[in-house]
Structures are given as C-alpha cells and as structure tokens.
Amino acid sequence: MKSFRRRYMQLLTAVLYNSHISGFFTGKIYKGELKGVCTPGLNCYSCPGAIGACPLGSLQSAIQKSHGRFPLYMLGTLLLFGVLLGRTICGFLCPFGLIQELLHKIPTPKIKKNRITRALSYIKYVILAVFVVLIPFIKLTPGFCKYICPAGTLEAGLPLAILNEGIRSKLGWLFSWKVFVLAVCILICIFVYRAFCRFICPLGAIYSFFNRVSLFGIKVDKDKCTNCKTCVNACKMDVRSVGDRECISCGDCRSVCKEKAISFGKN
C-alpha cells in the first residue's frame, strides 16, 4: 500500500478515535454508549476527544475486577482484532504509531535497527506480563496505564491538566514521572524509528502473536520470492522475515521487492 494512503488512514483513524471535539474545549470526556467499544489501536479513553475505550486500559481494568474469572469480552475483543489484522493495526490504525512516525521525520542522525534493537524487542513481552497482567491481578491497579503509558499522558494527562483546574491542583509526583517517561519516549522516537512500538508497547506484543495467522495483512508469494532479503534490509522494524511478529504491514518492503512477490490483502 502506498505510503500516502497509509498516512491518510492513520490520520483518519486518529481523528475518528478522538472525534468528541467538544471535549477538547470543555475538558469533559465522552460518556456515550460507544465508550464500551474498544478502539483497535492505543488511544487513551481519558482523552477528552476519545469516543471509544482503550483496549489496553480496558484489559487491565477487566483483570483487576475479574477475581480469577476470565474477562471474556476483553479477551474476545483482542482475539478478534488480532486475528483480523494482527500488527497491521500498529501500521495503520494506531494514533500513537502515527505520532512516532512523524517524530522520526525530524531531521537528525538515526539509529538503525541492529542485533541490539532486535533483542530489545523482547522487552515488550515482559512489560505485557508484568505491567498489564501481573500488577493489575495482584496489586489491583492498572500497572501499564499508571506507571508507563506515554499515550495516556500525551492524550489525556496533559490536555486535562490544561483544561481542568480541579485536576491541575491535584497533580503530584506520579504526573511528573509520567511526563518524564513521555519526554524520554518522544526524544528516543526522534532517533529510533517507532521505539515505543518496537520495545515497549504491550498492545503490539499482543497483536504480534497473531501476525502469522491474521486474515488480512502483508503476504509474500513464495513462488516469486528468491530470498534475497532486500525486503528485510529495507524494513525499519526488527523483522527477520516479512510478516513475522515485528512486521506492522507498512508496505515499505513492497516497493523494493524486484520480484513483486509482496502484496497486501487477504491471507
């Protein structure tokens, strides 16, 4: 898929997820019925514009309140998103992914992928296990939302702090910590392509399990492929092959494949 179409999709998604425009003026979040439906990409539900629920926040909340039983609705939702699109969601339907890509366009020297970044890509699975599953289950608090999520700080914490005097008066060390995490994330993303997606994002970690079985996404015609690895070398993510767990189906590999073996569509 051509890059401008993907960018258009990302922009449209970001606007759609946050189309409760009046919230940005009043500082009040959307409370309509739609708020129980999760967006596929990472988008904080406390963003004044958010019309849907954050899948990661909702999962942590569901685990907190589950008392040992399976959170069926949330598991079903994540399975559905994963099996339909896998990490194509990261590439096309995530506002925070878009923000990272735009940050990376700032002209500076860039740190290219290497063995270290490939190793770092496993950290997101540890974050998933500890902050998204274990901490909510044991400490009854949404660990990732509370201690890490830069999307929540950027989309919800900062706007609400600006718009809402009551919230502003209560800010403390945790807000300072989260702003620090956001600042570090923004800084790193300028130099490292999609650093949050690659190393931290637990939602990307979840969807990565489905990349090989997702019904829509990037695919390689094995009859045409000569294994030249031009696609892997051109890819800015830490892939070992097109469509593996690190692939976000951005399609950059399509334009460099001389055999025209890569396409986007139904798997």
């Binding site: 954050c54 569901a62 069926l72 339909l84 919800a156």
Partner: protein
C-alpha cells in the same frame, strides 16, 4: 491452509467470547471504566 484454518478457529472463538462476555454484562464494566476519568492514566494515581 493450516494458518487460514487456525485464523478462522480463532475468529470463531473470539466471537463466542465476545457474546458470552456481553451476556455476562462485561460491556457495561468496560463502559463504566471508560466514562470515568482514569486517574492512573492521567498521572493522579
């Protein structure tokens, strides 16, 4: 073919889980959380 089969099985399971979750009232639980400002998310703990 195996992958496609796995995909469709997961798709079926996901729909069943969503339906069961809806019947158990879990949509309302997600909604209840989403319509309140998440203090943890915005850094108020």
């Amino acid at each position: 073919m195996e992958r496609k089969k796995t995909g469709f099985i997961i798709l079926t399971v996901s729909v069943i889980l969503i339906v069961l979750g809806l019947m158990a009232g879990e949509y309302r639980e997600v909604w209840n959380k989403a319509v309140m400002i998440c203090m943890e998310c915005i850094g108020l703990g």
